[in-house]
Amino acid sequence: MKSYNSSIVTKQGLKQLIENILAHKYRLLAPKKSGEQLSFETILRAEEVVLNQLLRTMTTLSPKEVFFPRTEPVLRYTGQEMHDVEPPTPETVLFGIRPCDARGLELLDKVFTWDYNDKFYLKRREATTIVTFACSDQASVDEHCFCLGVGGDPTASSGSDLLLSTNGDDAFLLEVITEKGERLLNSCKEGVELQASDKRAADQLEAIKDRFVRKQDLTEVRHKMPEYFDSDQLVQETYRCLGCGICAMSCPTCHCFDIVDEPKAGTLGEGARVKNWDACSFALFTKHAGGHNPRELQCQRCRQRYFHKLAYYPQKFSEESLCVGCGRCSRSCPVGLDIYQAVTHVLGKGRA
């Protein structure tokens, strides 16, 4: 185990670090305004990274698409001839994700390495260094956040290579979490003033937890599944689901996909077999060729998503919930569906 290692860096120093990352030809991805939304974009100039903005606003979509793109070829073909595909893997720094997102990546790792290794996901993971921003600003946490209810923590370092948090008005605490993080820092620290520190985000940010209005523990749902499975309460909570799939698209851990062949327009017999994001909330997702659909009703599909997160994944892979409590699904839902609210109601714990 690496000994614990952190330092204080000024705002200016952090800006320099970002400039060095760019100067070293890393591909830098960070939250950036794109139209109305904050999303992970390729950064070309250091000033495009607006620290206050990324500290205070959660991106609309999660960073999962850096590793698991919404569409990607898994093989190409020309007539009867197949060609293998390698995912593009430039050395990448993913900057400014939240601890819930970082944890989500660790949960996805289990899916994409379960017996069969998905090289498309794994090679991108290997080529990427994760610089996480702990939820350390008063505005980092909003009324949708509930990581504390699913075993998460707004200051956790799990899944991160480097962890940043605010340290007073004009400085940041920079913690080295992994050797990968240390390598990045060592290669990009010229001109960055680092003042050794013995602090940790987790120790000095206890107060941020008071910002959470959603603190109920959702994990107990998995222990009493049969009791909750046919709950009328759950039907009432989910019957208005439209099946649009925005919850799955914005989720850092939803990983269902489809595999289809897409012929290339304007060619004869050229194309690619592609992996596309899919969602269990879509009506055709489970429909059999014979016409039978095991999840005929929208509320059953909604239940599948909730329970896959909170009961099935923990049963299959680890004791952890697949939901990380980022709140993106409820922020985006056009009909105000809310996994936290639905599950707390089912658990009989009332409105948050």
């Binding site: 197949m82 293998d84 269990c280 489970t286 299959k316």
Partner: protein, 282 residues
């Protein structure tokens, strides 16, 4: 060939086509790579993803027995884009194949027992792999009974095979159709009626027996109930599911039921496994 891309299929050559019914066709496929043809193995009950470049992939079980080496067979009904495209292929054409995936029938646990096979419609395909496997090792099992049912005489598959099973003195073979069409009058030697009903009249013993059931979900449901009534307990009733699948190896999420993935934890389950699943219709 590609070793680290789990989505990359083997190429197989279509060497024989048999029409089972007006819409069900069987393909015999052989590996193009001679080394693979030699080394490829699978177990009865496993499945694969069959594909045509430009059209896509579809999931079917392997319908031939693992004891028949050098080729695999699959049977499919024309229902969608990929199966329609597969139907247009001719002998000599290439088919992509990924697999074998999934668990297998617990044949070792069936040794020295009476085996009752109950197949409905195209659900006979996965059973056929096991039935042939069992018949190729006939001495290791006690009584073998096969009940096969189809919607009508026009929907019966594997006719030659059925006749061969029927002709064997060491196999009890019963067949039924849901309804007899007028043109079948006087020509049908089997039963008429739904599988659970015929089963109830067959006086099969549950003693030291295993029942293996496959067919449409509704048939499986009522057959399990009938088997229970005959004294089979849930752990001695084996079935195989074919949920919609895309990847075949536990990533795409499609076949997830409760904490179970049909593609990895199945497709073969006991009735007691099924009854423990939250979304189960059984």
């Amino acid at each position: 060939m590609c070793t680290n891309n789990i989505y990359y299929p083997y190429q197989m050559k279509l060497t024989e086509i048999r029409d089972e019914t007006h819409d069900i066709r069987t393909f015999k496929l052989e590996h193009v790579d001679p080394k693979l043809k030699e080394s490829f193995t699978f177990l009865a009950g496993q499945f694969g993803l069959y594909s045509i470049l430009g059209e896509g992939e579809a999931t079917f079980c392997i319908a031939s027995a693992p004891t028949k080496q050098g080729y695999i067979e699959c049977s499919f009904k024309k229902v969608g884009k990929v199966t329609t495209a597969l139907r247009s292929l001719e002998v000599g054409d290439l088919v992509g194949f990924r697999g074998p995936y999934g668990n297998a029938f617990p044949i070792e646990q069936m040794l020295r027992k009476n085996i009752l096979f109950v197949g409905g419609g195209i659900g006979l395909a996965p059973l056929r792999s096991l039935i042939d496997n069992v018949l190729d090792r006939r001495a290791e099992f006690k009584a073998v009974t096969i009940l096969y049912g189809a919607r009508s005489t026009a929907d019966i598959i594997y006719r030659e095979q059925l006749a061969a099973w029927e002709a064997r003195s060491d196999v009890r073979f019963e067949k039924t159709v849901d309804q007899l069409r007028p043109q079948d009058e006087g020509k049908w030697s089997g039963h008429v009626g739904l599988i659970p009903h015929i089963l109830s009249k067959m006086s099969v013993s549950a003693e030291n027996s295993v029942a293996v059931v496959c067919g449409p979900p509704i048939m499986i449901k009522f057959t399990i109930a009938e088997l229970n009534r005959l004294g089979f307990n849930d752990s001695s009733i084996i079935t195989t599911l074919e949920n919609r699948m895309k990847c075949g190896f536990g990533k795409c999420g499609r076949c997830n039921i409760g904490g179970t993935y049909v593609c990895k934890d199945g497709p073969v389950f006991s009735a007691s496994d099924l009854k423990g699943l939250p979304d189960s219709d059984f």
